[in-house]
């Protein structure tokens, strides 16, 4: 029997992998991918919550699932903008590595 805890554990593992990717990887494209992973970890837990919260009529609570669609939409937009910025950055600097981009340092 798969419980809510199992889903949440998978979600947490996904989130941690994503966070570690953001923290540790140098390549901006990979960081972007890791961000997506974190978003989807969130989505997974939302869907799991929805599935396990059954109302008096025997149906799951769909609010969370609607919320997931919003997240997917926003993530799509974010990827579009993020990749565009990445291309522009690559054209300006000929690099996609974070450690090369540190103009904000004092």
């Amino acid at each position: 029997m798969i419980t809510l805890g199992n889903y949440l554990a998978v979600s947490a593992i996904l989130f941690t992998i994503g966070f570690a990717g953001v923290m540790l990887r140098r390549n901006l494209i990979v960081i972007l991918m890791s961000l997506e992973l974190m978003l989807n970890a969130g989505n997974l837990s939302l869907v799991a919550f929805s599935r396990f919260r059954v109302g008096v009529n025997g149906l799951p609570d769909y609010n969370a699932q609607v919320f997931v669609f919003f997240v997917i939409t926003v993530a799509a937009a974010e990827v579009a903008v993020g990749l565009a910025l990445l291309v522009a950055l690559y054209r300006a600097r000929q690099t996609a590595h974070v450690e090369d981009i540190r103009n904000l340092k004092f």
Partner: protein, 598 residues
């Protein structure tokens, strides 16, 4: 209606000053005519109330917050104020007329006469005031007109500086005067003289307090009557036109201090300590000024120092608790000193504004009227019988003999010095040979200038005789000192005069040089350095506060504090995207911790 006359005396010169300032500044002759008419109105009505012995004057209420503070606009009319009114307006009238000649071609003649009228208003105000508030207002007003008139020739730096010096120095005294007035008001709850007298018991026998109050009031007189140590302004005030020196800085305004002391004598006499201090300050002034006068070369400065010396005698008499003797000397002094100044003015103007006595000489043939009148004034000043100064100075000497021996000795020595410097001046100016071209070509002044001299000479001769003076003053009672004191005075006079005559006869340069006296005991230098060091000290103190507390502490502290916090905070600006993301993550964790778990 009669009760309005005193107000008329007071307001006529004020109206004249107003009209001249507002309308007739352009027309010099009209301005002088208005001013002279006003002072004559004052003089005539002064004589009138004097003849009537009027005591009633209209009184208005100005400020009335009974019982806390009540200031009436009232006039005192007693023998003292009636005499002073006649004296002030009479001498004033003569000097107004004399000014017609002296200031004949002056550019600022209208301004001069306006100021002179304003001065008459203020001086008569002091004479008539029946309360401290009015007295103080008029007191400041004479100070102001004195400032304006000393600085009449303001384009000369010396005159402008002298005007400032006079105003600022008297201000120091006035500060004490005002404090004294406030203390009297705080204690007795009244500023009206007649109301304070019966309330003197409210001081309740605190001898020190009474002495402080009396001495603070005396401060006003020290400033205005140029007593030691605030005497330094009077000799410099001689930069003004000579009639002004005669009227303000010899006959009337400087005597206002003595008049005020006599008016409030009930406060001074309430404290023995105060009396002693007053007497000694008068004595010090008298002898110091006489010593300085022996070595001066400027005719007006010699006269100025003699004024100081004579004012010292008057203050000495006040300090010896004899108002009558003080007023008697004030009365005779006003005549002979005005006379001396006007005669000196006649000499000065005929020698094209030459004031150095060593550039004169032999003027007795060139200016006979001036010579005779000047001699009369000089003899009165040194107290030669039968001229007026003999009687009044003798009264003070006799008083000192009775009450305080050391003061008597110094006063007698001062009389000797007075004879010395006056005869010195007389010999150098009028005898011997002319010592400059101007002196050779001098000729007698116009009639408008000589007849005030003659009138004043007659008054200076008669002024001291009992039959004349008794009409005006309560004369001091002569005690049984008999011929002893007058005899000593005459011996001092002959010694001093004879010595001066022997030393200076026929000389054309200074015979004795005493640098200390020539430099006036270094008072000016001392005060300059005192002011310099005080200022320096204050300046370095405020520089310290500004530099170390304001600049370094407040301003610098704020700037350095901001800078330091900024330096700390910028350590976390590493510029690494992942570091920011990590911190952001930490922040989120912290938020969740606080929001959910706590």
């Amino acid at each position: 209606m009669n009760s309005f006359y005193p107000w008329l005396i007071l307001l006529a010169p004020f109206a004249s000053a107003t009209v001249i300032t507002l309308f007739t500044l352009r027309s010099k002759s009209l301005s002088s005519a208005i001013s002279i008419a006003a002072v004559l109105v004052s003089f005539v009505f002064s004589c009138f109330i004097f003849a009537q012995s009027a005591t009633a004057a209209l009184e208005f209420v100005w400020i009335d917050i009974t019982p806390v503070f009540r200031v009436p606009l009232g006039l005192t009319l007693d023998q003292l104020s009636r005499t002073m009114a006649v004296l002030v307006s009479g001498v004033g009238a003569l000097i107004h007329i004399y000014s017609l000649g002296y200031m004949r071609d002056d550019e600022g003649k209208s301004r001069y006469f306006a100021a002179l009228s304003l001065f008459m208003f203020a001086m008569l105000g002091i004479v008539f005031a029946n309360n401290f508030v009015m007295l103080f207002i008029f007191w400041e007003l004479v100070g102001f007109t004195s400032y304006v008139l000393i600085g009449h020739w303001f384009f000369r730096n010396a005159a402008a500086d002298a005007a400032n010096k006079a105003f600022i120095t008297t201000r120091i005294g006035d500060f004490g005067f005002m404090t004294g007035i406030l203390m009297i008001w705080a204690t007795t709850g009244s500023v009206v003289f007649a109301e304070i007298t019966p309330r003197m018991s409210m001081f309740g026998g605190h001898a020190t307090f009474v002495a402080i109050v009396a001495l603070l009031i005396f401060c006003g007189a020290v400033g205005k009557s140029a007593q030691f140590p605030l005497h330094v302004w009077l000799p410099d005030a001689m930069e003004g036109p000579t009639p002004v020196s005669a009227l303000i800085h010899a006959a009337t305004m400087v005597a206002a201090g003595v008049y005020m002391l006599v008016r409030v004598a009930f406060i001074i006499q309430a404290s023995q300590t105060a009396l002693l201090v007053v007497a000694w300050i008068g004595t010090t002034t008298a002898v110091m000024a006489a010593l300085i006068a022996t070595q001066q070369d400027d005719i007006k400065r010699i006269l100025a120092y003699s004024t100081l010396s004579q004012l010292g005698y008057m203050v000495m008499a006040v300090g010896l608790a004899s108002n009558n003797a003080a007023m008697f000397h004030l009365f005779t002094h006003a005549f002979f000193k005005a006379l001396l100044f006007l005669a000196a003015g006649s000499v000065i103007v005929m020698l094209h504004h030459e004031q150095n006595i060593w550039k004169m000489g032999g003027l007795r043939r060139k200016l006979p009227v001036t010579f005779i009148t000047f001699t009369v004034g000089a003899l009165a000043l040194i107290g030669c019988p039968p001229f007026s100064g003999f009687f009044s100075k003798d009264a003070i000497l006799a008083l000192a003999y009775e009450r305080n021996m050391p003061i008597f000795a110094i006063a007698l020595f001062t009389a000797f010095l007075t004879a010395f410097y006056v005869i010195r001046m007389l010999v150098i100016v009028f005898f011997g040979n002319p010592r400059s071209d101007n002196a050779r070509q001098g000729r007698e002044s116009p009639t408008v200038m000589t007849w005030p001299l003659v009138v004043l000479a007659i008054l200076a001769t008669l002024g001291g005789f009992g039959f004349f003076a008794r009409n005006f003053l309560a004369l001091p009672v002569e005690n049984a000192v008999s011929a002893f004191v007058p005899g000593l005075a005459i011996i001092a006079l002959i010694l001093g005069g004879g010595l001066a005559f022997a030393v200076y006869r026929g000389r054309s340069t200074e015979a004795v040089n005493v640098e200390l006296l020539r430099r006036k005991f270094y008072f000016d230098e001392f005060y300059s350095s005192l002011i310099y060091w005080t200022q320096e000290l204050l300046a370095s103190l405020s520089a310290f506060v500004d530099r170390w507390i304001i600049d370094a502490g407040v301003v610098g502290g704020a700037s350095r504090g901001t800078w330091g916090i900024g330096a700390l905070l910028r350590l976390i600006q590493v510029g690494n995207l992942q570091a920011y993301a990590f911190l952001f993550g930490l922040g989120v964790v912290a938020l969740i911790y606080f929001a959910v778990i706590r």
